[in-house]
Symmetry: C2
Subunit: 596 residues, 2 copies
């Protein structure tokens, strides 16, 4: 079975030494979130995830969720409900939410550290609270006061959970095609009718009520994405007084058999004139959907990170224990039957790629979350707007890169285990199967890539990119002449300049041919992700050097940064060449020539 | 459920137009293997694999193999035995084997086309005949005459199947550590005692007897790999007259629960004084093992190719059918609710990477098999030696690259399906789970990479590489001044020169520090694979242009070649940079600093 220990030392380094959250929390008015409080939260989150959630990870995979087709009920894997009760009792569900509705008002960046641990310990279980998070965001922003009291508070308190009901069989990426309809009732409620698919945690027995946020069309709605409205539809009807009543006509029709995340139920949800209430303005549902979706995308990025961390830990442990053949340079442990496989350069290549992506990725994610905090709580409007722009820019990068890297990292972890990695009982293959969903749901990698190059770059004249380039520039200036950092800063500056040029080139070509955006998109996303990580690795070395950490910690950061610059950053060469080859090699072949 | 149609048009193009097998078969003395015969074999193989094997692929995955712990018996999935009986009746088991022992004496390259189809149709089922193939090779080369009559003939005829029993719990890559022992009996037989793991098709109900080729140590054997001998150990004892007798003490102790290939049973085999016979010389077992292993490695390369082909076919079909959003350049099918997703550049990027790796990979594999034929049947010794060197050089490339590409191709196929790709019923996730074993068994990608740079390059002063570079040079000279090919030949020549330089650089560094070999190995393997495929794509365009194929076929080859050179070949840039960064970034960090 794969093991998990929360990486508290690296989390603390990222939060305190690199991101300097102590200063940020004070500046944003989080007066009570002292370093002691942060430490206590991290310690307790580690304890909970290591001892309660991690042991249920294999159970969830092996037993999965059970669907009763007669009643439409779903039973979660053994122990999942008890773990959720403990999570609620600990106040974790509302950690980052508004105290006015029962939350603890902690910064999002701290919530992200918690979520990484939850997902590493038990990804499937983590979906139950994660989906609530999106519903909370949407209700918080667009809900009427009574809706907040009736729906938001129980979600924050963890008494109920939430879902996002967007996809239909013929409408996934293209929500404009959706057919679910909403008709107004005399009492101000609506009757919702239609079928939604891929509804994560749409039905289960963890809590007595489930709050569905459903996209549907009003009878007079314009066609396409501008005719979509958002409704809140509870499993058990809820009056304006917040009291739960009779069963609503929102039922699970079946559950999917999936490659992984067996402990997380994926439902077909049938709404058959179910009672619901409009959230926000009519026909403005897509706007509210994006609020939920952005929250979920950041969350899925953390899922990738968590899985990568767990894969790495287990691969390192195995590579130290497994004795097999000798070092090419001669026996390094002559007293043993063979050397541990960690002596081999190629095993180290795999381990260091994982380590550099995990620790660099953690900074990418936590920094993005810190910008969400700043976007909501910074003192002046300009700072809020900048932070919002940066967070928006980083959202597709953290979602897509972290999830793609989780595919790579879980792949490499299995390779380190050799044939044993393919055997179920070792737990490594579960990590790979679970990781496989993360590049698909909440928008595939292709969709994230289009979001980055289109909405977040072309449509904003590169506003987010400019802010990130300014960060690189500031850092380089700050450490100009620092000989210990010169080996990182010179290539980082060169990559930053290249990134800017590459972006300009794409946008120029796209002005003539919009397909150039799509042709560049995925390679541009990866290119961007690798440059962002180069920045965080350079900053990690600077932060480690300037910290009170011990020599071993500093050495590990330095060696990993050197590996990253030598072995990972050159991937940008291939992505750049692919981008610069343009759309023609992709678009030339007629569709009918792809095969029979 | 995923579908399969044998890619006969592309196979015929590869065999006849690119590799010119008609000429080769004549030169090697295969007088009876006329184009009509080849066509008939391909057609019948397609019919069998499409109609008999492909429908059992999902069955094998869903039901798997059943183990009875009381008896040690294994029951294969429903239909597997009946399909094997038909395979035997069709004479397929001995297609490429010696007619003296019941084979049909066909060329290996034709056997490879059959095997690709078998593996694409049903990878798990394909393991049953594949493992026999290795046993046949070893017995053919090292078996005594009576052993050939008693064991080889029933294997060739498909009445029995074979296994390779190498791995032990503490001895996988490092067979020198194995502990299974063999003691001589008075009658010339040996008693074999020990436990082997990961024995593919070690026990099953497809045939009445199973022939295990077992590595073990004699009592006086020197330690390490030079003290290993090979034994043939049947499930039911076989006398020198070939008659099967009583049950031998070779029993399945348990079967593994795996990520995929559920229809292919993976056994723990317990030998408890089992009767066996020495094959070849005492303490020379590793040599015989390599004969089996090379056969199996080439076979696993075909597994990767077959899975990639099937993944590609289904992804193309889905991308043409799935309507979702509009082209960035404006609606291309305005009469439909949305455009099919094949209009999108990024979907085409995924499809074309699959197509270029599959069709290029097919040539890599078939060419390597054609060299096996030449190594055995060429008229003069020099030609045989050269073909053997080239086949040896290409074995790790075809094994590791095709299997790694099958990971990438099945990944991309799932991405094309979006969330639907994660759902079991679509069959795409099974392809990814099945593919995941191929980079692990018969030597991981890391082991193949060390084989390529070490045994096949450093130890031979680059003999194999020189032969491949000469092929590139010949081709370039032959088409000098051909304007239609200039766009491919110029970059191909440049890459060939770079490949040579890169190799020299690695070997020079390795002369001072042997860890440089391991540090370069995996990137060197991929670098080599991409240059090899560039050669095959350039030759494909040349062969298509010179053939009687229709304009659409020629256009598809040209467009795919252009995509390959623009979008895939640049991956060599990243691999080259990683190689040139050397061993230091991998070796600097002490093992204890990798984590807690």
């Amino acid at each position: 079975m794969s093991q998990y220990r929360a990486p508290l030392a690296d989390m603390r380094f990222a939060l305190f030494d690199v991101l300097d959250v102590e200063k940020q929390f004070a500046a944003l008015g989080y007066d009570e979130v002292t370093p002691d409080i942060v430490d206590a939260v991290l310690d307790e989150a580690a304890r909970f995830t290591e001892t309660v959630l991690a042991p249920l990870n294999a159970v969830g995979d092996d037993i999965g969720c059970k669907f009763d087709s007669a009643t439409g009920d779903v039973v979660a894997p053994p122990g999942f409900k008890q773990a959720f009760d403990q999570f609620v009792d600990g106040g974790w569900t509302g950690l980052t939410n508004d105290p006015a509705y029962g939350g603890q008002g902690m910064p999002e960046v701290l919530g992200a550290a918690l979520t990484e641990m939850v997902d590493a310990a038990n990804l499937a279980w983590g979906n139950f609270p994660m989906l609530s998070h999106g519903a909370v965001e949407a209700l918080n922003r667009y809900g009427e006061d009574w809706q907040k009291e009736a729906f938001l508070r129980p979600l924050v308190e963890g008494r109920w959970t939430g879902t996002m009901c967007l996809t239909e069989p013929h409408a996934g990426t293209d929500l404009g095609l959706l057919k679910t309809r909403a008709e107004a009732n005399a009492d101000g409620s609506y009757s919702i009718t239609g079928t939604k698919i891929f509804i994560t945690c749409g039905e289960h027995d963890l809590v007595p009520n489930i709050i569905h946020l459903v996209l549907a069309r009003l009878p007079d709605a314009p066609p396409g994405p501008k005719g979509i409205s958002l409704f809140v539809v509870p499993k058990f009807k809820v009056g304006k007084d917040g009291a739960a009543g009779e069963r609503n006509a929102a039922r699970c029709g079946s559950i999917e058999h999936k490659m992984g995340i067996h402990g997380s139920v994926t439902c077909v949800m049938n709404f058959d004139g179910a009672q619901g209430y409009l959230v926000g303005e009519a026909n403005k549902g897509l706007q509210a959907m994006f609020v939920m979706m952005n929250s979920a995308r950041m969350g899925v990025g953390l899922q990738g990170l968590g899985l990568s961390e767990r894969a790495y830990q287990n691969a390192v442990r195995y590579a130290r224990e497994r004795l097999q053949t000798r070092s090419l340079a001669g026996a390094k442990f002559p007293e043993k039957a063979a050397d541990p496989i960690i002596v081999h350069p190629d095993v180290r290549r795999m381990l260091l790629s994982m380590k550099s992506l995990v620790e660099g990725g953690r900074l990418l994610a936590l920094h993005a979350y810190s910008q969400l905090d700043a976007a909501h709580h910074a003192q002046d409007a300009d700072a809020r707007a900048k932070a919002d722009t940066l967070a928006s820019f980083l959202t597709p990068i953290t979602k897509a890169c972290q999830t793609e890297w989780s595919i790579e990292n879980t792949y490499n972890a299995i390779q380190c285990f050799g044939g044993h990695g393919y055997i179920h009982e070792h737990g490594m293959e579960q990590l790979a199967r679970d990781a496989r969903i993360t590049t698909l749901y909440e928008g595939t990698t292709g969709i994230q890539s289009l979001d980055l190059i289109g909405r977040k770059t072309a449509s904003t004249q590169g506003a987010g990119l400019k802010l990130f380039l300014a960060m690189i520039d500031d850092f380089a200036k700050q450490h100009e002449g620092d000989v210990a950092l010169a080996e990182f800063i010179a290539p980082l500056k060169a990559k930053a300049a290249e990134w800017a040029q590459l972006t300009t080139g794409i946008l120029q070509r796209a002005a003539k041919n919009p397909e150039e955006l799509g042709a560049a998109s995925t390679d541009y996303l990866f290119y961007s992700g690798y440059v962002v990580l180069a920045y965080w690795w350079a900053r990690s070395v600077a932060a480690a050097n300037g910290s009170s950490r011990n020599a071993a910690f500093k050495q590990a950061k330095l060696d990993t940064a050197r590996f990253y610059f030598a072995r990972m950053l050159p991937r940008t060469l291939a992505h750049k060449a692919a981008i610069e080859s343009g759309a023609e090699p992709l678009m030339a072949m007629p569709a009918e020539l792809f095969g029979d």
